[in-house]
Symmetry: C2
Subunit: 309 residues, 2 copies
C-alpha cells in the first residue's frame, strides 16, 4: 500500500469512527464534503514519509497523526473560504462548504474538524491499555499539532496577522503556512519515537517554499488547475512574496528553499526517497515550464499580460 492509499484509508476509517450514526446529517455531510476527495494531502504525506524513514513502530498512532494534520488543514480551509474572509466559491475544484451548505454549517464544520483532529489522536488511548511510552507520544504529538494551529504562532495566528495594520511578511507567512508543515515533520518523528528536533528545518523550509509557491501561482496560475480562484492576494490586499520580491525573485527564493529542504533531511535509511519526494513536489508546486511561458509572455507584452486565463 502506498502512502496516498494509506492516508486515504485512515481518513475514511477515522471519519466513520468519530462521526458514527448520530452526528446531525447535514453536519456530517459538510464534514465529508470538506475532507473527501481532498487535495494533494501534502502535509500528511510529508508527515508519514518522516515517520516511515524514522522506523515507525506504532502504525495506528502514525495513521492517527496523518489524519489529525489533514483535519486541521481542512478546517482552516473551510473557515478561510467563508464570506468574512476570502468569500471563495471554489475549493479543490468543487463548491466551498458555505456555498454548498450554508454559512452556519461551514462555521460549525470547521469547529467540528478542529475537535476531531484531537479526537482521532485521543481515541488511540481510550478503551485500551496504553503504555506510558505511547501516551506520552500522543500528548507530544498534540502539543506540536497545537503549536502549528493555535496561538501564538500557528496557522490561526497566521490568518490573524492579516487583520493587523503592520505585518512582518516572513513572520506572517511562517505562521500562515509554515507552522503546519513544521508540525508535520516533527509529529512524524514523534509518532515513530524519534527526536523531532532534526526534522524541524525540513518542515520550515518546505512550509516557506509552499507559501511562496502559492504566491507565485496566484500570479501565473490557472484557476482550473489550482481548483481555486487566482489573483486573490492582490484582491484581498494580502502581503505576498511575489509582490515584495518580484516574480523572478520569488521563483529564485522558491528554488533556494527547495534545495535547503533537501539538504536538511537528516542522515537516515530512506534519505534518498524523501529527497526524491521533495524534488517531485517542487515540480508540482511551481511547474517551471509554465513559469517560463509566463515570463516570456510578460517580456513580449511588458505592459502586463494579466492572468493567463
Amino acid at each position: 500500500m502506498n502512502i496516498e492509499q494509506r492516508i486515504q484509508n485512515a481518513m475514511q476509517r477515522h471519519f466513520e469512527e468519530v462521526t458514527g450514526d448520530s452526528t446531525p446529517p447535514t453536519l456530517k455531510a459538510a464534514m465529508r464534503h470538506a475532507l473527501f476527495p481532498g487535495g494533494a494531502r501534502i502535509r500528511p504525506q510529508l508527515y508519514m514519509a518522516v515517520a516511515m524513514v524514522s522506523a515507525e513502530d506504532a502504525p495506528l498512532i502514525t495513521d492517527a497523526g496523518a489524519v489529525a494534520l489533514e483535519l486541521m488543514h481542512s478546517a482552516s480551509l473551510v473557515h478561510d473560504d467563508m464570506p468574512c474572509f476570502d468569500d471563495a466559491q471554489l475549493r479543490r475544484g468543487k463548491t466551498t462548504v458555505h456555498v454548498e451548505f450554508s454559512e452556519p454549517v461551514a462555521l460549525l464544520t470547521g469547529d467540528a474538524l478542529i475537535v476531531m483532529a484531537y479526537q482521532v489522536l485521543i481515541n488511540q488511548s481510550t478503551g485500551k491499555s496504553i503504555s506510558r511510552k505511547h501516551a506520552n507520544r500522543l500528548l507530544e504529538m498534540m502539543h506540536v499539532l497545537s503549536q502549528g494551529v493555535g496561538a501564538p504562532s500557528g496557522i490561526v495566528a497566521g490568518q490573524a496577522w492579516e487583520c493587523e495594520s503592520k505585518v512582518d511578511l516572513w513572520k506572517y507567512q511562517r505562521a500562515k503556512t509554515g507552522a503546519l508543515f513544521t508540525a508535520a515533520t516533527c509529529m512524524g518523528a514523534i509518532a515513530a519515537g524519534a527526536n523531532p528536533a532534526p526534522w524541524r528545518e525540513l518542515g520550515e523550509s518546505l512550509g516557506d517554499a509552499y507559501q511562496i509557491a502559492d504566491d507565485i501561482r496566484d500570479v501565473i496560475g490557472h484557476a482550473e488547475l489550482l481548483g481555486k480562484p487566482i489573483g486573490q492576494d492582490v484582491e484581498h490586499g494580502r502581503p505576498s512574496a511575489a509582490q515584495v520580491l518580484g516574480l523572478e525573485g520569488a521563483n529564485k527564493e522558491f528554488k533556494r528553499l527547495i534545495e535547503n529542504a533537501a539538504k536538511s533531511v537528516p542522515q537516515c535509511h530512506g534519505r534518498h526517497i524523501l529527497r526524491e519526494m521533495i524534488s517531485k513536489e517542487s515540480e508540482r508546486l511551481v511547474p517551471q515550464p509554465e513559469y517560463q511561458r509566463y515570463i516570456e509572455m510578460t517580456k513580449l507584452n511588458p505592459k502586463g499580460v494579466g492572468h493567463l486565463v
Copy 2:
C-alpha cells in the same frame, strides 16, 4: 481561596502562558475580550466542586481542566454570536467579539480558543516528567471534553441540529447545552483520579435544567439582567422547551430536573456542599419571584404581555 477566585487565577495564568508576547495583538485582545471578565463560569465551578469532593490530588491538573471547559464554552459563544448565527450585539453585558473587533477576528478567536482548551491540558504534560497515571488522566479528560464539544453529540453538534429541518428537541438540547455540563462533572472526577460514571447523571440533569432555564428566561427575562438579547428563540425559529411544554410546564420540568440533580450526587464527603450549590444556582437560573410576577401579569392580560422590557 474560594472556587471563583481559583478559577479566575487559573484563567489568567493559562491565558498569559499560552498567548505570550508573540500572538498577533488584535487576536490576543479579542481572546481576552471573550474570556474576561467572563460570565457565571458555571461549568468550571461545577467541575471544580466535583473534583474537590472527589479528593483531588493534582491541583494543577484540576485547574487546567476548569480553564479548558471555560475556553470551549467561550469559543462557542463567540461563534454563536456571529452574524450568520444569532447576529448578537451583546454578550455578558458588553459588545460581542465580532462587533468589538470584526467578523474575521471573531472567527479566528473561536478557533484559537478551541485549540487553547487542549493546549492548557497538554501543557500539564510537557517539559516535565509526568507519571503514567497523570498522562492517562489528561488524555481521558481531553476525551470527555471532546465528546462534550465535537461530533457526534457535543455542543457543536447541538448547534448543527438547528440547521436540520427535523429535530428531536431533547436530543438537540442535550447536545447543545447538556453535553458540556456532563463533560464538566465527569472531568471533575477524572481530574481527581475518581470514576466519572457516578457523576454523569448530575451533569445531564443540570445541563437539561440549564437549557430549560435559558428557554424560560428567553420568555420572561430582562435583557439588562441577562446581558444578552431576549426573545431569540422565537426570532430565530429555534425549538424551545418553553414553547413545547408551555411556560408553566417548562418551569415544572425545571424544578424536577434540579431535584433530580441534587438526588443524583453520589455519597461523598462534601455531598451537602454540592447540594447547596445546586439549590443556590437554581435560584439564580430561574428566580421564582420573577417567574411568578410574569405569570400574574399574563393572567391580568391574557392576550399576552410581550416581554417585560
